[in-house]
């Protein structure tokens, strides 16, 4: 029997959820579509798809109070509070914005980030939104504070505000050097007690729009490469990462999980860990099993040795990625999205075409692969909890834990502590939930540190994608139709969804998860007829299983852009046009055109059609290009590759990227992000695929899930395009989206073979070269 044959089996008890079984029983609910407008639910969930809740007094700091945003100390220091967390150096970039707006020195600003009792909820730290959204909110709050400070200074000095100037937090009177007063003297240690406007919620919140911020020409600190404030301590061992948090009386815990779907254990043999000194408790709650010990080493050994007799799960794992592709292709979606750029009549254009092309592109499950596996400390005392966690959404963690503990949100105090790069992984705060269950069981603070194997297996992965693209070319050689369909699973671990430990104690999802998007699907090209769709298939299983999914750096866009920019390249090759010239024919947006040209120029692009394979040489060389636009940022990359025709190994020798993200806050910070995105992009294109079989996930460490290493890194060239007159659009994740397509196009240029499946492993390359066909 095909494991993926879909049979609707029964209805879940909880509210009419549709339960579907494909041998491995997913549950999906046909409810919770777009309900209500965000404005009706201030501070509520970031995603309007989610069910509403009504905040209670004390749940959130009021963004309409200026004191919620900043405080001035007696010595004139400014503490700025933000609900965002620092993953990519934004502690520094946000402080630059604030310092400029307030006219204080950069090092007078201290950022407090991601604490549910001390910061405004500005939404989760996702989607490169910190600089564009939260940065703007902090800028406006700082501008409002400056205005207040000038009012106070005007009263104090007896001069009208227009005559006052500010320098490094000291207000002076123009033309009278003697009269001055500092911010610290004006308000240090006291509250402003001033109300500002704030409407909307989280990343969409409008803060003090009535206050005029500085003109960009007056920025002194924004636009400069201020060194990152966090870096020195990270290089000396003085920095406190999340794994370094130590709380008095703290114990060490580990959850124990199989590598496949989790069913109720038939039994847990506590005697199997009796021989380990320091074991405090074996904890079982529902299908959650964990251990708590006095020392970390005892906890590790106990988790390793604990004998759990797991019952056979009803949810079966797919045997490999192929049945998942079939499932994506055949399953009725829970959600279909289209694109506002869709236009014309695609079918008519196909009917009248002189040539048509079509192709299918495949993208595997990939891991986030944080260097530091998930970790958190929780201290549950009665109906209250304090949690130290590197979560990307501290407020999400708070809300989930409140549900788990069945207590009011304000009883849960979540404090952000930085970890290693997360790339979306910690939108699901699994370790914190594990720690809550274990701490509640023993009544003491418990630190949970996932092991490497836990992280590789249970990482909520970037989803598998299947993309089908067709294009029609008319008799004049013009592309007349673009028909694009991308299918993937939702992010099952998105905001508002119960996560791993919650599922194990019986909290059921009421929603299918965050739907797949349509970005990067070719809408930047102005074809006469366009139909772009993305489909989301059900992906909630009766039991929680390790192929669960979450946002992964530019969620869905590397796979979609891989398909789009590969297929554009296929069209250019079909029509024997240079790939850059071909794109320019259909690109209208001047920023995209400029960025594409900048990348090509910087790379020394020579105009000619692809491919240009050289016959009978061991090392084949090629170049490829790709471009995109996402959230206002525009990346374009040229990849140069060497393909070893004997071993099949692809080496990316150089990547040249041009990048336009509007106003650049910190040029070196953006360069750092480009380098990182390029290297991770090469890794994802060449190496990364989560392996699994019917028995479970088999990518369990860095050998079975390799990532790019020093001897494989390309040279990198960077071209930053600064647009100071524009908003800042961010750089944390958008640069990566063009890298895999540029590489695949370069491999085509080198070999004449079109590879449509990521990763481009030596086996796939060799298979393509052997068959001698033009695609593989």
């Amino acid at each position: 029997m095909d494991n993926f044959s879909l049979t609707r089996r029964r209805l879940l008890k909880s509210g009419g959820a549709l339960v579907v079984s494909f041998g491995f029983a997913p549950v999906t609910r046909s409810l919770a579509q777009d309900g209500g407008t965000p404005e009706e639910r201030p501070f509520a969930a970031e995603n309007p798809d989610l069910g509403s809740f009504t905040p209670e007094p004390g749940d959130y700091l009021d963004p309409r109070e200026l004191d919620s945003w900043l405080a001035v100390t007696g010595d004139g220091g400014v503490t700025m509070f933000t609900g965002k967390v620092d993953i990519t150096g934004t502690r520094t970039a946000l402080a630059q914005i604030v310092a400029d707006e307030l006219d204080v020195a950069f090092d007078q600003v201290t950022m407090v980030m991601g604490e549910t009792t001390r910061t405004v909820d500005q939404g989760r730290t996702v989607g490169s939104s910190t600089i564009p959204r939260a940065g703007q909110q902090l800028r406006q709050a700082a501008a409002a504070a400056r205005q207040e400070l000038l009012k106070l200074a005007s009263k104090h000095l007896g001069d009208p505000a227009e005559r006052l100037t500010v320098n490094e937090g000291v207000v002076g009177v123009a033309g009278d050097a003697g009269r001055r007063v500092s911010y610290g003297e004006l308000i240090g240690g006291r509250r402003f007690d001033v109300t500002i406007t704030a409407t909307g919620y989280q990343r969409g919140m409008q803060v003090a729009p009535e206050v005029q911020p500085k003109h960009y020409r007056d920025y002194r600190i924004v636009g400069t490469s201020v060194p990152r404030v966090d870096i020195p301590a990270k290089l000396t061992g003085e920095f406190e990462y999340a794994c370094d948090v130590r709380v008095p009386g703290m114990l060490h815990g580990r959850a124990v999980r199989p590598h496949t779907a989790i069913a109720e254990p038939n039994g847990v043999d506590e005697r199997s860990v009796e021989h380990i000194p320091g074991v405090v408790r074996v904890v079982r709650e529902g299908s959650f099993v964990g251990v708590v010990a006095e020392t970390e080493w005892a906890a590790i050994k106990a988790a390793r040795d604990l004998r759990v007799d797991w019952s056979t799960p009803r949810t079966r794992m797919p045997a490999d990625r192929d049945p998942v592709d079939r499932y994506l292709a055949e399953t009725p979606p829970v959600r279909e999205r289209t694109r506002q750029e869709n236009q014309g009549d695609v079918e008519a254009a196909f009917a009248g075409a002189s040539t048509t092309l079509e192709a299918v592109y495949r993208w595997p499950f990939q891991n986030h692969g944080m260097m530091l596996p998930s970790c958190a400390v929780a201290d549950v005392q009665g109906d209250r909890a304090t949690i130290w966690t590197p979560a990307q959404g501290p407020f999400t963690t708070r809300d989930r834990v409140a549900i788990m503990m069945n207590v009011p949100r304000k009883n849960v105090d979540v404090r952000y502590v930085e970890a290693s790069g997360t790339y979306g992984r910690l939108t699901a705060d699994d370790a914190a939930e594990d720690a809550v269950l274990l701490s509640r069981a023993v009544g003491r603070p418990v630190r949970v540190q996932w092991m490497r194997e836990d992280e590789q297996v249970w990482d909520p992965k970037g989803g598998q994608h299947l993309t089908r693209v067709r294009a029609a070319v008319d008799s004049g050689g013009e592309v007349s139709a673009w028909d694009y369909e991308n299918i993937s699973m939702p992010w099952t671990e998105s905001q508002g969804m119960p996560q791993l430990a919650e599922r194990q104690i019986g909290i059921e999802p009421t929603y299918y998860g965050n739907a797949n998007g349509t970005g990067g699907a070719g809408a930047i090209y102005d074809f006469a007829n366009i139909n772009i769709r993305s489909k989301t298939v059900p992906w909630i299983f009766e039991e929680v299983m390790p192929l669960r999914t979450a946002a992964l750096r530019s969620p869905g866009e590397p796979p979609r852009v891989f398909a789009t920019e590969s297929f554009i390249d296929e069209l250019a090759a079909e029509l024997r046009v240079d790939p850059v010239q071909f794109r320019l024919r259909y690109l209208r947006d001047s920023r995209i055109r400029d960025t594409l040209r900048a990348a090509a120029d910087r790379a020394g692009w020579v105009e000619r059609p692809s491919p240009q394979p050289t016959a009978d040489v061991r090392i084949l060389r090629g170049r490829g290009i790709a471009v995109n636009q996402r959230g206002g940022s525009v990346p374009a990359a040229v990849a140069e590759v060497e393909v070893n025709s004997e071993t099949g190994k692809v080496t990316v020798s150089r990547v040249t990227m041009a990048y336009d993200c509007g106003l650049i806050i910190n040029p070196d910070g953006v360069r750092n992000q480009l380098e990182g995105n390029i290297i991770q992009g090469v890794s994802r294109a060449l190496l990364e695929e989560v392996q699994f079989d019917a028995g479970g996930v088999t990518s369990v460490d860095w050998i079975s899930y390799p990532v790019l290493r020093f001897t494989e890194i390309p040279e990198v060239e960077k071209e930053l395009i600064n647009r100071p007159e524009m908003p800042a659009f961010g750089a944390a994740e958008t640069p990566i989206v063009v890298v895999p397509a540029a590489i695949a196009n370069a491999v085509f240029d080198a070999t004449g073979v079109r590879y449509r499946t990521v990763p481009l492993t030596p086996e796939r390359i060799l298979a393509g070269l052997r068959t001698g066909q033009t695609s593989a």
Binding site: K234, T236, C243, G421
Partner: protein, 157 residues
């Protein structure tokens, strides 16, 4: 439980731990050091690197009982924010970090490399650091930082 005397960053310490406890957990949990970091526990990533009698060692798989009276040096033993080691200073100059979590492994292994090869080329550095993983893609900056450090004669520091 057994009692061990350790010399870490020049200071003597006595700890009471199980003999099979990896050095990493002793350094982190008993001696409160934050330089050596947990990344895999499998000798696959290098985040836990320390120097033992001049050699780079993966502390995550090194039982404390095997350390004996050898001299252990951690990231903290090289320098501090106030007084960084020339290698650390070069990394700061190059802003060689994104999350920075892997940088313990980078700096510790670079220190050992410079000890045997005070003026390494790009390929020497890449070969030496190939076993050390970085997920953020800070590799290029690490290479530049080590070359900068070499130019500043960090090897003799």
């Amino acid at each position: 439980m057994a009692r061990y005397s350790l010399t870490v960053n020049g200071a003597a310490h006595v700890v009471d731990v199980e003999p099979d406890t990896p050095l990493l957990y002793v350094l982190r949990n008993d001696l409160d050091l934050k330089g050596p970091r947990f990344g895999c526990g499998l000798a696959q990533c290098g985040a836990c690197s320390v120097i033992v009698d001049g050699n780079p060692v993966r502390s995550c798989i090194t039982p404390v009982s095997t350390v004996g009276n050898q001299e252990v040096t951690t990231l903290e033993g090289l320098g501090s924010v106030a007084e960084p080691h020339p290698l650390q200073a070069a990394f700061i100059e190059e802003q060689a970090a994104q999350c920075g979590y892997c940088m313990n492994g980078m700096i510790i292994n670079a220190k050992v490399l410079l000890g045997s090869n005070p003026d390494p080329g790009d390929d020497d550095i890449k070969e030496a650091l190939d076993p050390i993983l970085c997920r953020c893609g800070s590799h290029l900056r690490v290479v530049r930082a080590i070359k900068r450090a070499a130019a500043n004669n960090a090897a003799t520091a």
